[in-house]
């Protein structure tokens, strides 16, 4: 069944603001969002906001199903509108604001990019870096983010993390996807290649802090959720890398490409993930669960979305050896009968 690609939220909002009733309801949600930022909404206020949200979305369904495009010029404005009309989470928490129908990762390009990365003893990440630096804009965008992430703020030994994040996102959004994902997910068989892969996103600036102190993961997530862009990239990751034991790829949406893109989308935000060492393809967030109190398990679960996620691990491994997984959505095999007889 062909699903038409949803409207862009900026367009949907433009239609709405042309109609006074709609604009008033939207303004109401703006107010609700502003209050929600200061402190959690009380029951009564939440109910009123919800009514406003429902009235708006009933009258203007295009607003309720509108989506945004990653890396587009008006992305942040679009996301702001998206999260206004999704102010109070509906049933599906992990819906993604991004529309992947238009730019469903061109499997062929990703397979092409990954097929050149055969696991031989050559440094695949050096090859991927080479493939980028000698390809049109990829080289200069790469230099741009490296410069932004290694330059010291005058008179200090610190870097400007905000500029670094922006440049990293620009790189990943502007270069051809197979180049960007190529340098991130190149397969390694030795620690030199692994160290290059780990340092590709300049960890000393993109997420580590000066004293090497890790924040609490829930604390990090709360910062992320206050920023429309980070919140969107996190929702996109939770949505597209959702594990499922029922599909061959281990991914609910059965697409390694969508998961890899969603993971890469987090790079350059407050929740920038990275490889944990140069000797394995395990990835994680730069945070720990110390000081989680009674939310220790919620914290572990957030951590495990990166460290114990079969969908993500399979997708990363797939990029390294494309034969290892069906890349496209296929029917999940029926649960296998395996009698376990034990006297």
């Amino acid at each position: 069944s062909f699903t038409p690609s949803p409207t862009d939220c900026v367009k949907a909002h433009r239609v709405c603001s042309a109609e006074s009733g709609c604009e008033a309801l939207y303004r109401g949600l703006d107010l609700c969002a502003a209050n929600a930022e200061m402190s959690p909404l009380g029951d009564k206020v939440a109910a009123e906001c919800l009514e406003g949200q429902d009235a708006l979305l009933t009258k203007h369904p295009s607003l309720s199903s509108c989506k945004c495009q990653r890396g587009f010029r008006k992305e942040e404005q679009c996301l702001r509108i998206y999260w206004r009309v999704h102010l109070l989470p509906g049933e599906e928490l992990e819906m993604s604001p991004y529309d992947d129908t238009l730019m469903a990762p061109r499997m062929a390009d990703l397979v092409a990019a990954s097929s050149f990365m055969q696991l031989d003893d050559e440094n695949q990440c050096l090859k991927a870096a080479q493939d980028c630096s000698l390809y049109k804009k990829c080289g200069s965008l790469r230099s741009e983010y490296v410069l932004a992430c290694t330059k010291r703020v005058t008179g200090t030994s610190r870097c400007n993390q905000h500029k670094c994040h922006r440049a990293l996102r620009r790189f990943l959004e502007r270069v051809p996807e197979e180049k960007g994902l190529g340098v991130l997910f190149c397969p390694c068989t030795n620690t030199l290649c692994g160290e290059r892969r780990r340092k590709t996103i300049v960890p000393s600036c993109s997420y580590q802090d000066m004293e090497g102190l890790q924040p609490n993961c829930l604390h990090q997530q709360s910062f992320c959720r206050r920023d429309d862009l980070c919140r969107s990239r996190l929702a996109d990751f939770l949505n597209n890398c959702q594990p499922s034991p029922l599909t061959a790829s281990g991914c609910l949406k059965d697409s390694a490409g969508l998961c890899l893109r969603a993971y890469a989308g987090l790079i350059g935000t407050t929740m920038t993930p990275n490889y944990v060492s140069n000797s394995s393809a395990d990835v994680s967030l730069w945070c720990n669960c110390e000081g989680s109190g009674n939310q220790w398990q919620d914290c572990l679960r957030l951590q495990h979305m990166f460290t114990h996620n079969t969908c993500l691990r399979n997708s990363i491994t797939w990029m390294g050896s494309p034969g290892s997984l069906p890349a496209d959505a296929t029917k999940p095999p029926a649960p296998r009968p395996s009698p376990l007889v034990q006297e």
Binding site: G155, S292, L340
Partner: protein
């Protein structure tokens, strides 16, 4: 009333008939009089998902079941594009009493996620024993609040598989390596906690659930582990493990923000860093001294961290208390005092929620004085302007913080002749803003050259700010070579760093050259290295990656340490400025430095 589990996951299939039980949610009591009432709820009535009517939740038992038979058309109805498994999201509430309202907002609902698979339920022959016995993959482990009432916390039976193998008999029991107050209710196959728990005893129970499947001929046992977490409550008061008193001596370091001493207060309860607003195990502290001087001078800083207790590795909280200076202390300050600080665990219900800390503080005065040795320095008359002569420092100056000491030179004998007076312009003293020592350097080469300027004896006066305390000492600068051998008067000096080759370098009279001639350093390493070849006024101080007080008077003295301009060629910049490492030979013009391999041929044709 609270949910021990905030998420349930199950799989539903096309063809499952109405009335099929899917799963059972549980609630735990906070007080014995409570009775749970379970409801499905929706975030917004207007935007209910199409599947909202397919399910119902029994108000008393919390059993979720199907209202209708799931059809193939139900699967395709779902708006979630073409995935092979569709996610249905439900939310449930538990309340003390009945309600008609089905709105979830603001009431901490739990999430039920159903994987709706476009296939029929596997028959008995295709059903794995594990899938028959246990939910597929239950990400959410139960959390039980400590000190609460016993009760059922989870249905072990996989309700969707109740009738898949009718002639099997399924029973459960629970085992654990360490004694754990858990059991299975054989009639309801629910896991029950049989006694109130104490998190400080054990915060996580590793249970082994054993499912026995009995057919006519065979008994099959299937196991799975289950972690049950115990939630914390502020039921422990703060305690000291060791001394409650810190003896502190404040001497050289008397700077605002300086911290002293370490006292530790322990609490077996947890202190969450996040969310910040949470008022769980919240500490505050009060200074018990009323003396205004103490209040204006000292503060106590409390930082807490989580640590694993020696016994059982249970997480607990450690508070670290330090004495902090709120302002700089004068060097003349000289007093002893005892400071008492009341630490209060504000959320601990009991009476003994406080401890008192004691800081015995001794503030020693600082005497600004030079060590009583005669400071002798030798200097060649051929030295260039800015040549460094030596360094002077009052005793312990390296450890000072919170006040500053400035140095000046004076002529010891005021009534020397005018001619002799002019000799004293030969040497001057300077100091970097954040350094506590003075640097002596050549200020006037003409005075240095004059024969009558023989015996340079200065008085160095050190003055402390803000109290103006002073100390002085005599220094003696011995000029080693004869006056006439020195170079002609009003000699002009270039920067040593301009020279790119040893011959030019060692023949040049550069700024800051202590011997009068520049010194060549020959690098030997291949690539970019800290030992790059370069021409320097004094290899002891330049390059040393530190732009000192004399060098910063004129970047031409030691651009290798001080340049802020661009550096062409393979190099690494210093932390602040200068060239940390370079390729081949590094040399500098006024605005720009180069680091490159020296080409003999290119150098000749350039001449």
């Amino acid at each position: 009333l609270y949910f021990p589990q905030n998420e349930y996951i199950e799989t539903v299939y096309v063809g499952q008939p109405a009335g099929t039980p899917i799963l059972q949610v549980h609630a735990m009591l906070d007080s014995n009089s409570e009775r749970p009432h379970f409801y499905l709820c929706w975030t917004s009535n207007l935007r209910r998902p199409p599947y909202s009517s397919w399910f119902s939740l029994d108000i008393h038992t919390g059993i979720l079941s199907l209202n209708k038979t799931l059809e193939e058309s139900d699967f395709t109805l779902q708006y979630q594009k073409s995935w092979s498994v569709k996610k249905l999201f439900l939310q449930a509430l538990v309340l003390q009493d009945f309600t008609k309202k089905s709105q979830c907002s603001g009431r901490n609902p739990i999430r039920i996620t159903l994987d709706f698979v476009n296939a029929t339920m596997p028959q008995c022959a295709q059903t794995d024993m594990k899938e028959l016995c246990f939910p597929h993959r239950d990400t959410s482990n139960p959390h039980i609040m400590e000190n609460r009432f016993p009760g059922a916390l989870r249905q072990l039976r996989r309700l969707t598989r109740l009738n898949v193998c009718p002639n099997y008999t399924i029973s459960y029991n629970v085992e654990s390596e360490t004694p754990a107050p858990f059991a299975v209710n054989e009639n309801t196959t629910e896991l029950v906690v049989t006694a109130p728990l104490d998190r400080e005893e054990s915060e996580r129970y590793r249970l082994l659930l054993v499912c026995s499947v009995r057919t006519e001929t065979v008994i099959t046992k299937v196991e799975t582990s289950l972690d049950v977490f115990v939630n914390d409550e502020d039921d422990n008061s703060p305690y000291m493990n060791g001394t409650d008193t810190a003896d502190i001596i404040i001497s050289f370091n008397r700077t605002m923000g300086g911290s002293f001493g370490n006292l530790f207060v322990f609490d077996r309860d947890l202190t969450p860093i996040f969310p910040i607003a949470q008022s769980h195990n919240r500490y505050d502290g009060t200074l018990l001294n009323s003396d205004p001087w103490i209040k204006n001078t000292f503060d106590i800083k409390d930082t807490f961290s989580e640590k694993k207790a020696a016994r059982g590795g249970i997480r607990e909280t450690v508070h670290n208390y330090k004495l902090v200076l709120k302002r700089n202390l004068y060097v003349t300050e000289n007093r002893t005092l005892q400071l008492d600080y009341l630490v209060n665990d504000t959320t601990y219900p009991g009476l003994e929620g406080t401890v008192v800390l004691h800081f015995n503080v001794t503030i020693l005065p600082i005497h600004i004085q030079f060590s009583n040795v005669t400071h002798m320095f030798t200097l060649t008359r051929r030295a260039s302007v800015y040549a460094q002569v030596g360094r002077v420092c009052v005793e312990n100056c390296q450890q000072f913080d919170g006040f500053s000491v400035t140095y000046r030179l004076e002529v010891p004998d005021k009534n020397v002749s005018a001619d002799m007076q002019s000799c004293y312009t030969a040497v001057s003293i300077t100091q970097a803003p954040d350094e506590m020592w003075g640097l002596l350097y050549v200020n006037d080469t003409e005075a240095l050259r004059r024969p009558e300027c023989q015996d340079l004896q200065y008085l160095v006066v050190a003055q402390e700010e803000p109290t103006k305390q002073e100390a002085s000492t005599q220094i003696h600068i011995i000029l080693d070579s004869e006056a006439n051998k020195a170079n002609p008067v009003n000699q002009q000096f270039l920067s040593c760093a301009v020279n790119r080759r040893r011959a030019d370098c060692e023949s040049a009279r550069g700024l800051g050259a202590t011997t009068g001639r520049c010194q060549w350093r020959q690098g030997s390493e291949k690539g970019i290295s800290e030992k790059y070849s370069t021409c320097s006024p004094d290899l002891r101080t330049c390059p040393d990656s530190f732009c000192d007080a004399v060098e910063s008077k004129d970047t031409s003295i030691c651009p290798q340490d001080c340049t802020k301009g661009s550096v062409v060629g393979g190099h690494e910049r210093g932390l602040r400025n200068g060239i940390q490492a370079g390729y081949g030979t590094c040399y500098c013009y006024t605005e720009k430095c180069f680091c490159e391999k020296e080409d003999i041929e290119e150098a000749i044709c350039d001449d």
